[in-house]
Symmetry: D2
Subunit: 244 residues, 4 copies
């Protein structure tokens, strides 16, 4: 409504309109979650309740933004894929990035306060970034990158905390794992009575949300939740509509 | 930690480093707050409790980011001025914008839940934008622009709701105000028994936070709160350190 | 070599790295060529000698930058397509845009001075812009856009100048053409004894350069010149390697 | 004029509007001028005729763009300062950068062909970049940086070529100079009969063009040429209008 001689300062505003007809991934990331997880005493190496808070926040965000077609999350991060043709807010980067960070924070906080004893002096904060991917190949590889990352971190953390549980100090456990390959860690775990293959899928694979047609009614869409492999082509071949 | 053949997708990431040695203002803005304020039944034209929730969020943000030297807010928006030399997160735009949106949301939500009956189906969400101003003159004019905006909106809203209170429908009040100048609105209010000058300063001027030296100990800094005029030069002349 | 306390000013430099794995088109455009063509008395509506100067400049540029896979030009503009994987100068926009403008100018000037009586007071100047296209479809449509543009302009100009030649003033010819469709212009030309279909292909279609394998030796590449249709799919289907 | 269904490709175009109310410096730089100077047999360490070609090109550019208030050049580079308020081409970066590169190339080529035996197989090419400086201090330091650079390079080159002239191979001269300070080079030169202070100012200081009021008529402006120190404050103090 207002109109004043000072309004000229608006000409300093700059917008970055993300390239049209490309796949934009917005990744939301916990700030200082190492400290946060200690403060709230998260289970190690994975806190199922905390992961489900992340999942609920992501699910709510997908319901808020209809242009999100898929999401992948593990630990304290979540990646959201927007449909190629999305023109919400004219693809303005700052708008998308700030709204995703804010909405995710709000949904996380609401759910967290139900599951944990939320305290004012330690609130959850997330940053966000948007990345533009020009073709389906790189988008798929983006999600593969995150899932491989989940696997590598989880195998490490599972072994690390098992070693600590078995009596090592954190430092000793860290030293023990230096230079070990996946096979070594699997074997170590096995010796301590754990078959890594039997670990919960949500820990090993993270969580995938996909917006897809309901099986019964083709016209209606629903957001499905998976803890499955998306590295092999199967995941993508059976969902060809996703990257069209 | 992870390192895979898919990591090449990182080369698609782009960063906008905001120009060094400039004044950056980050403005946080409520999303859909018209609806939000209706849902929570805010007082019209101003809800003092809701304004103080905004102020508490802003104050907490200033305590979190030491590089914020000043903030100005009214209605559902808040502008934060970062010190010229700030190099936090290497001045990365997406980082700043998303962290401010997220942090403000978290602090707002925490305080809001103390003052109102917060419900899951209507959570507060904020976007954010960063604007680069190259010199003190335009920074000052930026804040003047926002305070003039506050004044114009508040005078309008005060008159509008007084007319409604006096029996007009919203539409009638709107029509009555079309084409009126400030003087006309002041007079209208006066006839309805209100001297606009006596309205609370927080409504007329908004809220200013300034990080400044404590009067007693020059080395220590404190964040002071004001509801005063920043359009005249006095405000800036008496705070020369602010824009150095 | 130099290293001084003033070198800090380099931190104000910003680079825009064009998105990897995308099709970049750099379009070079004559500045003030209306005046330029008048000064050097170009034939109307097309000056074949001047067009060949453009073509020579474009051909030389393609020989200088091996990563240009195709070019299209008409009138005073030329578009260059870089191969998707090009990493020359790390895809820095300012570098590409300035080098293309400078090189094209140098090559144009050299050739122009052979064909025309070049004078100091009127030198050819070109600007340049880079546009990022994410997939083959939009790249093809980009070149279709330019060729349709060439056709529309050439049909108009051919009719316009024929009307002027037949005795109309420029203003009369302009008025005569307002609101006419392609069919109208074709008929007008026909009445003045010209079958537009028989006009030279270089005027109607512009000029295309394609870097392609030599027919005899598959390993060697050569830059071929065409004045053919690239709007129909044929052009692209028979050159599948071009956009891979 | 043209309007087709392919015109949608324009929506992929992006513009970078350089921040208003800031000092923009556009630096034009010779591409491969080491090779270029060898081909045309430039005098070593400085070719006065070649430097004057640079200067003529810069002077012509200043006459073309009235918004250039100052220029500084040495060797194969030239920096142009645009006035803070310039809105030419809406401050579009690609436009400025490409036009400066193209114009400088055209003017250089024209003058070069008068002074040297220009040949088609070796044409001069320049790139260009634009840098935004927010305040007078950094602009001044930018030019100081370039002049210090000129001095350091010239002292080195003068000594190097004198050593070669005195019988050393290039490699021997290079080795001789490793680790030497300015004082050492001055002394070396002195022993070979050269007082560096007496070297031509154009070599030691480079060339400065300033657009300033004519002494006789205050209203008229003229472009003056200097080979003087701009590192000390004197240069700037006596030209206060330059950075206003």
């Amino acid at each position: 409504m207002a109109n004043s001689k000072y309004e000229y300062v608006k000409k300093f505003e700059r917008e970055n309109y993300l390239l049209p007809d490309t796949y934009v991934v917005i990744r939301v990331d916990g700030k200082g979650f190492h400290k946060f997880s200690k403060f709230y005493n998260f289970d190690k190496p994975n806190d199922l309740k905390a992961l489900e808070v992340m999942n609920t926040a992501a699910y709510n965000l997908m319901n808020q933004f209809g242009d999100i077609v898929m999401a992948y999350g593990d630990s304290d991060e979540y990646s959201f894929l927007l449909k190629r043709s999305s023109e919400v807010y004219q693809r303005r980067e700052a708008k998308w990035v700030s709204l995703f960070a804010s909405s995710f924070t709000a949904y996380y906080l609401m759910e967290f306060s139900k599951q944990f004893d939320l305290q004012s002096k330690m609130v959850p904060i997330f940053d966000a970034r948007a990345v533009v991917y020009p073709n389906p190949q790189v988008v798929q590889d983006y999600f593969r990158w995150r899932q491989v990352d989940c696997h590598i971190n989880n195998l490490y953390n599972t072994t690390f905390w098992k070693l600590v549980e078995s009596g090592m100090t954190n430092q000793e456990a860290e030293n023990r794992l230096i230079g070990t390959l996946s096979a070594d860690k699997n074997e170590l775990l096995f010796k301590m009575g754990i078959n890594y293959n039997n670990e919960p899928e949500i820990f090993k694979k993270g969580t995938i949300f996909v917006r897809e047609p309901r099986e019964d009614k083709k016209r209606k869409q629903v957001v499905n939740k998976y803890h499955i492999d998306l590295i092999k082509d199967d995941f993508w071949h059976s969902r060809e509509g996703l990257l069209q």
